[in-house]
């Protein structure tokens, strides 16, 4: 975050369809009114999106990932991304999807990028990794101390299954138990297991500390499962979640709720200020949400293979009204 020093210029505002909603000030204008500018800081994290193929079609998915998607990062692009990571030495590499496990290059990516990443995270899809025929991926993750980050919206089967699909809670619990048995989420093993809870509807997330306390107690009591940290994030009004908001008549009230919850103090810690996101084709974005909108890094289309250095600190980040999801309450860091 910085105090605003220059007029809003080249960064495109992708909020067109939201800007006209009654009572919603465009995000860019809200920043101006608070004397803020959303600009890049020191980039420390490389987020690699392996593609949109997923075994679920979650109703809150901003990428509209699902079983029918064919976009997958190929080996050549993986090599280009790894080469970039080798050149720039990010502190954290964060692998996501879709379901990363459904990309046959996931193992290769972990093997080749692990030596370049002090902290390697996998947004694990619990049901997809459970469907693997071998323990190859799990063994690889353990050997490389890959941090597992799993979506686990609710301890209620009706709410989890409503968001992610029938039977997902039970299958997720089974996989979490297996991860615990391998040492993930257990003190002293060095194997970190974190959970992410998104609201199962058009409401704001629970305060993280309260949610973590409740999940820890419920998961232990119901299934004997332990984990390290729980993160709560607001659903972002893009993709399939946006469609659901419109179809269910919740869009206006949800956008009002998000914009009313704008916390100027959250802007400094936004993940887009320190993260670089790369899509399945190898192109670069400021965050996974701008990736889903096709709004490139600082508004310019660049491939990882041609990127020289890290994005310059101070570069303005393209915004849209979906950014309200990251600045509501304590924010999305």
């Amino acid at each position: 975050m910085s105090q605003k020093t220059a007029p809003l210029a080249t960064a495109p505002d992708v909020s067109a369809e939201f800007s006209q909603r009654p009572g919603i000030l465009p995000f860019a204008q809200t920043l101006v009114e608070h004397g803020l500018d959303l600009i890049r800081g020191e980039t420390t994290t490389l987020q690699i999106n392996l593609g949109f193929l997923c075994n679920h079609a979650c109703r809150h998915c901003h990428l509209e990932a699902g079983p029918g998607r064919t976009e997958l990062m190929n080996r050549k692009t993986v090599d280009a991304v790894v080469a970039y990571a080798r050149r720039e030495r990010f502190q954290t590499v964060d692998i996501t999807g879709g379901a990363p496990e459904l990309n046959p290059n996931l193992g290769y990516l972990i093997e080749t990028i692990a030596p370049e990443a002090p902290r390697l995270m996998l947004r694990v899809n619990l049901t997809a990794i459970a469907q693997q025929n071998t323990n190859y991926l799990l063994d690889l993750c353990m050997a490389n101390r890959v941090v597992m980050v799993a979506s686990f919206p609710s301890v209620s089967s009706s709410q989890t299954d409503a968001q992610r699909g029938t039977g997902v809670l039970d299958r997720s619990v089974t996989m979490l138990a297996k991860l615990n048995a391998l040492g993930y989420g257990k003190n002293g093993t060095g194997l970190e297991l974190n959970l992410v809870s998104n609201p199962t509807g058009a409401f704001l997330p629970v305060a993280q500390s309260q949610a973590e306390k409740k999940f820890r107690s419920d998961l232990e009591r119901k299934w004997g499962i332990s984990f390290n940290n729980l993160f709560t994030f607001a659903n972002v009004p893009l993709g399939r979640f946006l469609t659901w908001l419109i179809d269910s008549g919740n869009l206006d009230s949800y956008m009002k709720k998000l914009s009313a919850g704008f916390n100027p103090c959250a802007v400094a810690g936004l993940m887009c200020r320190t993260l670089l996101s790369v899509n399945w084709e190898g192109y670069l974005f400021d965050c996974d949400f701008n990736l889903s909108r096709g709004v490139y890094l600082a508004g310019h289309k660049r491939h990882a293979s041609e990127m020289e250095g890290l994005p310059r600190p101070g570069t303005r980040i393209p915004t849209g009204n979906h950014c309200y999801a990251c600045t509501a309450g304590s924010g999305f860091s």
Partner: protein, 110 residues
């Protein structure tokens, strides 16, 4: 007026302070303190509020505390059980008066 209850009126609750600001301030300060985390969590307090809202059948309160419960991490199962508590107490309160009926009937009967 199309209806006595209009969801658009709920955000106007704070306007009640226009006529009696000191009393309103005392009420809203108290209200905020009541729902802050204490020995009971905010989630537990929201569930109690939801249950009471159903007991007094206040549509504003039901709307507000359904949303609050969800945002405080209550599951639909917990919320449904809370309303069953309301129902049990309301039903029980009726049923327990059968003791009066039985006492009177017993006195009048052979």
């Amino acid at each position: 007026m199309d209806s006595y209850y209009d969801p658009k009126d709920l955000p106007k609750f704070a306007d009640i302070g226009e006529e009696a600001p000191e009393l309103a301030k005392k009420f809203f300060d108290y209200y905020g303190a009541v729902f802050a985390e204490g020995d009971l969590t905010e989630r537990e307090k929201a569930l109690i509020a939801l249950a009471v809202a159903h007991a007094i059948q206040c549509p504003y309160c039901i709307d507000a505390y359904t949303q609050t419960c969800l945002e405080k991490g209550a599951s639909l199962g917990e919320m449904t059980e809370a309303i069953h508590v309301t129902t049990a107490i309301r039903g029980g309160a009726s049923l327990v008066h059968a003791t009066q009926m039985r006492k009177i009937a017993k006195k009048l009967s052979m």
